[in-house]
Symmetry: C2
Subunit: 308 residues, 2 copies
């Protein structure tokens, strides 16, 4: 057990990320008291039942009272409304962070509502599963995952260092970068891949000549990996694309250009170009395994089948 | 142990699929003798060292002598040359099958070289990992996976039934369909998803404004699932796209059309259309889990990190 890093933490939103933070902070003694609020009465009841918060509150304003750290863990599209609501109730000297997948839009929506004397340290834990809601959290979600912080020019260094210590206490590695670069990096590594996966699954679902039952039965041939990421929370992803519009459209444009080049190679029978392209992409995979961001276990067959 | 289904099986090519078949046939006593051949001397040496074949031969012609079942487990592009070489050496009454990911092109390349009295039952096990070569095989690769057979109109039913029994003995489920339908189904569930994954990884690799090190570090946000399938064998995939050209281009056209519609929804800020699309794709994911073709374990964090 470490000493608590914050005496009182308020979690606004009690989904996968917030509930995992609550479990992790409890497991490592990082917070003296964890207060929670969710808009849905059902989520509040589940949180109370599981007990990962010390107190559950009916309003965000009540949850943030006296909190040293406030974590906005709601869809990007409602961050501004929440900030507007809690602004007058924030403790002087408190730090506010968020866990949104887009950073510039969150800064634009939240910062104007925060009073002077409150530190804003936008953040983004690069961790998740395809599940959502207060039952989906677990304490080790952040272990060996990256947590990006995008502090403003006006943010005090001590506030950033303290939040960094909390993230590291939950097992994460922390990097700092500016919000615009964050949004471009995530457009490449997350937002565009998700859009493409959603599209591919949508095409398969809509194709009269191949039945859904066939798509499902034969999905182990590659399609399965797309459906995993295309099963993520629809509201979260709608907001990501609406708020990181420019970077996503930029990367989508590059993607389409490359896809057309490969399509042309197929049409013209240019086997040499295809082979060279497919060889180059193997190197990135090796880098990811070496960096500890995936295992090299051949789990196309998935662990249960191989153990059987 | 079952009784052997074939007295003598010849594996031509000793990569992931063939070595897994050898391990599985031995584990379940499905073949009296397993003969093997690979073009590369190194692969033959590894096969001999591991011992998954009872005999390893320098030429395909020698390997198939006396075999009751011959399995062509080589890239689709060289199936025709192999069939030409082994045709005169096949035992009367033998069955020839293959494990290629494309079926009509294999039939066109192989069938003309097979003598009368030899049964051809083209096949495709929908199982694999992103690894290749004789060291990558394991006995349970086919457990609960689908093995598609696309017999010709002239193939004898008894030959199909016997091969089906072998596949089922290795743990697979067997379906039969015609070659053209197979090629369309696989264009949807496998070939187009692979091409898209290769493209996305290529875009990330080639983007000056985001470093490869950033792409690798932050890959857990979705990109990682693409790199897994984009690390598959380049020669195999080149041949797939060159030989299943029409169906792949057909599905790619549909994909591009849908992608442009989503891109337009992003550009115009149509959140309702995005949310509806992302909700629909969740249902297919549920179907895949219910069909036992994936687990519902939230392994975006991958098992090792969660156990840690």
């Amino acid at each position: 057990m470490s000493a608590p890093i914050y005496d009182r933490v308020a979690l606004i939103g009690l989904g996968l990320i917030a509930s995992s933070m609550a479990h992790a902070m409890k497991a490592h003694g990082l917070a003296g008291h964890v207060a929670g609020h969710a808009r849905s009465a059902e989520s509040r009841a589940i949180a109370a039942e599981i007990g990962f918060c010390d107190s559950v509150h009916d309003t965000a304003a009540k949850a943030v009272e006296g909190a040293d750290l406030v974590v906005l863990a709601v869809p990007v599209g409602v961050m501004g409304d929440i900030a507007d609501e809690i602004g007058p109730h924030l403790k002087q000297g408190a730090t506010v962070t968020d866990v949104g997948s887009v950073k510039q839009a969150v800064i634009d929506a939240v910062a104007p509502h925060l009073p002077a004397g409150v530190q804003f340290v936008p953040g983004h834990p690069i961790a998740g599963t395809e599940f959502s809601g207060p039952r989906s959290g677990f304490a080790t979600l952040f272990v060996n995952r990256w947590w990006l912080l995008t502090p403003l020019e006006t943010t005090e260094a001590t506030a950033v260092a303290r939040l960094r210590a909390l993230c590291e206490g939950m097992g994460a590695n922390v990097d700092e970068m500016d919000a615009a670069h964050h949004d471009l990096v995530l457009a490449v590594t997350s937002h565009t891949p998700h859009l493409i996966a959603y599209t591919m699954v949508g095409v398969a679902d809509d194709l009269g000549r191949v039945s859904n039952s066939e798509v499902i039965k034969y999905s182990a041939s590659g399609f399965r990996d797309f459906t995993r990421i295309a099963a993520s929370d629809p509201t979260m992803w709608r907001d990501v694309f609406l708020t990181n519009k420019e970077a996503t459209l930029d990367i989508l444009g590059r993607f389409t250009e490359e896809l057309f080049a490969l399509q042309r190679a197929i049409r013209t029978g240019d086997g040499q170009a295809l082979h060279a392209y497919f060889t180059r992409t193997r190197a990135i995979r090796r880098g990811i395994i070496e960096a500890g961001q995936d295992t090299d276990a051949p789990d196309f067959g998935r662990t249960p089948a191989k153990a059987g």
